[in-house]
Symmetry: C2
Subunit: 431 residues, 2 copies
């Protein structure tokens, strides 16, 4: 007997999943290995930056009042009494009409209140003493990087849950994080099911295809910030799949299966959920592709049943699994960032349900963002996935879209994220 | 004596660098380790996708002509003569008024020319035979994924130089790339110079700061697709630095030094270039930050002398080193992707030179892109780097900018890239 499944909305599906979200534990990694990891604590400045008044230029530290009467016509001469290399501190206290040679990044000597750039001076020697000539009036504080102007001790500089990128790493180094507190990556069990699946290195056979979803999901999990534990691929034998899923639930934080989620005789995931004693969250969503995406909870752990169709599998992952991983990693914006863009190509197909179309963004003139769908829009299509850097969202209940229409886009390469998921507006959620 | 350096334009500097670009060699890695690598060959379909006519749904394979007179009022019955699981092939040839049960992804049996979804049928048994009832007329070809509709054998699906992401990986798996041809990553020697530099785990001292550039550049190199060989940090001793740079040139494909590029007494990079017999490409660029970025060529290998100031170092890397790495990796679009965005905040400072401001993009309503600068805009500032996901470009020779003005932005997180570098328009290149 065929179960007539009742589709729920995308927003509702995300909400049911997020009720089971969990926060990952902390671990420490060396700064060298911290790229791409997510901070488990906010990064606070434990000292002022800079932590002393510094010179941002090569030049001379001087007293501004000595230049009060100075001009192109009335140059002044100052005696150079010391020289401060980067990393050095001068023991001199600058007195009237004295200057101290100072290098980029060095500490401003006491008595000085400004720095004149080297290029604006000329040097001379007289009686074994060094002098510089200055032809311009300087202001108090000119060319000084003041202690704390970049960051004050105690400032919260980065939120917890931030992904370590080159800029974050610069800050970690600045504040002496030789060991970096990060969130332990969630371990995601991945199992591809389907008797039609061949391994990557097997020759093609009639009726069979190579398992592309398994490899794709591993990459998606890693891009999202998780780690995969692979459970290979299973033929469509209920007992085998059941045993493997059971093991995965024990060993992992979350479990993803692909295939076996449709309504056919061989789609036994519902029965597996039953036998595991798992609580079903949903098994049909009003969206294309990926309508057969299912989710369940077993021993408090989420099980995601993604479609066996590559595009449906891809979209299901980004909409429902990614936010769970990003929340685990303490991100306050775990959802795909949303933008709006101008459609560059007609999309005549009607959209009985919300449609998530693999698409490419283009940054144009006039502060405008353009989007065009890539390749065929069918759930079993694999080629278009390689070219997509966003998902264009066409709300359910709409007819075709035309060039120039505004559409929502969800960004796949952005790391900023969103604190709210994409969801149906009031109008389009009437399904 | 101080050298009066003559600044060249950003466009000119990029051009001088790109004259020394090189193409990296090929190596093979397993598909599991191919994430983030760049393909050394275009990926061509070596078979049609799908490689047989498939059913995209669970249902029944039937002959459309049998349904010609069929309607809600005049349902028809077809006898179910076989069942095809995914991965199986039926030996039956479908005859008049027969149907074959077919699972998602399975091969269409001979004689059938369409598939009716399971949900649209009802099953019954009579005299030990199975029948289905159908209440709708079907079209020839309906619900069939035809051989080659996703990709035809011989189609070039992905350009060489493409970065492996989840979608690319799905294609690699589909076409049996157990071993993936990728470009060998360039080895980039990195040396931080400056007597003011402390290691990350050293306590702060007056006049000294921790070496943040070294760690930052390692991340930037890896984000761009290269591998770093670390030469640690050197005090400002000419002979030590010379020896280290010499070694790095021998062992690496490119070399980056930070610090030692300014005009002060202790900035000895020009002398090091001389003693290495390196050809100077430039030592001053009309830009902020990063005006003291220098480049030279030694034994055909590029040496980049980036500023010791974090923000200047960061920008210098993205504008001049990144494209060299991406070209090496066979990317046809090695430069940062450019967009335009609407400024969300006044930027009152005048811009005597092109200014590259660490900024954050926001995706707004109406297909619009917004940008706002993050943190202080000074070259020695480190905190703003952590928050930036783009560089806003304010052309030289302009006064301040106002909220609502349109500005160019260079995207740091995008992987699409650009085939042309950002460069001064005719107007702003008059320096």
């Amino acid at each position: 007997m065929i179960e007539r499944r009742k589709p729920i909305s995308v927003g509702e599906a995300v909400q049911r999943i997020m009720e089971w979200k969990k926060y990952g534990d902390e671990e420490y990694v060396s700064i060298e290995k911290s790229d791409g990891r997510f901070l488990s604590q906010p990064l606070k400045a434990d000292h002022d930056v800079p932590h002393f008044d510094r010179s941002p230029y090569d030049g001379f530290a001087i007293r501004s009042e000595d230049t009060d009467s100075c001009s192109n016509e009335q140059p002044i001469q100052l005696e150079v009494v010391d020289e401060i290399g980067a990393g050095q501190v001068s023991s001199f206290h600058l007195k009237q009409n004295q200057a101290i040679r100072i290098m980029t990044g060095a500490a401003i000597p006491s008595g000085a209140d400004c720095v004149i750039m080297l290029e604006l001076t000329s040097e001379a020697e007289k009686d074994g003493k060094k002098f510089i000539t200055i032809k311009r009036k300087m202001k108090k504080g000119e060319n000084i990087s003041f202690q704390g102007e970049d960051a004050k001790k105690g400032d919260k500089l980065i939120e917890e849950g931030t992904k370590v990128n080159p800029g974050v790493k610069a800050l970690l180094a600045t504040f002496g994080y030789n060991q970096v507190p990060v969130v332990r990556r969630p371990i995601i069990g991945v199992l591809a099911t389907g008797s039609e699946l061949l391994e990557v290195d097997e020759p093609l056979q009639s009726g069979k295809i190579r398992n592309s979803n398994g490899h794709m999901i591993i990459s998606q999990v890693e891009r999202a910030g998780g780690v995969v534990r692979r459970y290979g691929q299973c033929e469509d034998h209920l007992e085998d799949v059941l045993k493997t899923v059971q093991l995965a639930v024990e060993e992992c934080d979350f479990v993803i299966t692909t295939g076996g989620v449709s309504v056919g005789d061989f789609d036994y995931l519902p029965e597996i959920y039953d036998r595991l004693g798992a609580k079903k969250l949903f098994n049909k969503i009003a969206m294309r592709p990926g309508s057969v995406t299912t989710a369940a909870v077993c021993n408090g752990k989420l099980l995601f049943g993604l479609s066996g169709n590559p595009s449906a599998c891809y979209v299901g992952f980004e909409l429902y699994v990614r936010p769970i991983i990003r929340y685990w990693l303490h991100q306050s914006k775990p959802f795909l960032a949303k933008g709006t863009a101008i459609l560059q190509k007609d999309f005549p197909k009607a959209n009985p349900f919300n449609r998530f179309v693999r698409s490419q963004l283009h940054y144009g003139e006039g502060g405008r963002l353009f989007v065009s769908p890539v390749g065929l829009d069918k759930s079993n299509v694999v080629t278009s996935l390689a070219w997509a850097n966003c998902l264009m969202v066409l709300p359910g209940g709409t007819r075709g879209f035309k060039t120039g229409d505004l559409v929502d886009v969800l960004l796949l390469e952005d790391e900023t994220g969103s604190d709210v998921p994409w969801q149906e507006s009031k109008k389009s959620s009437k399904l």
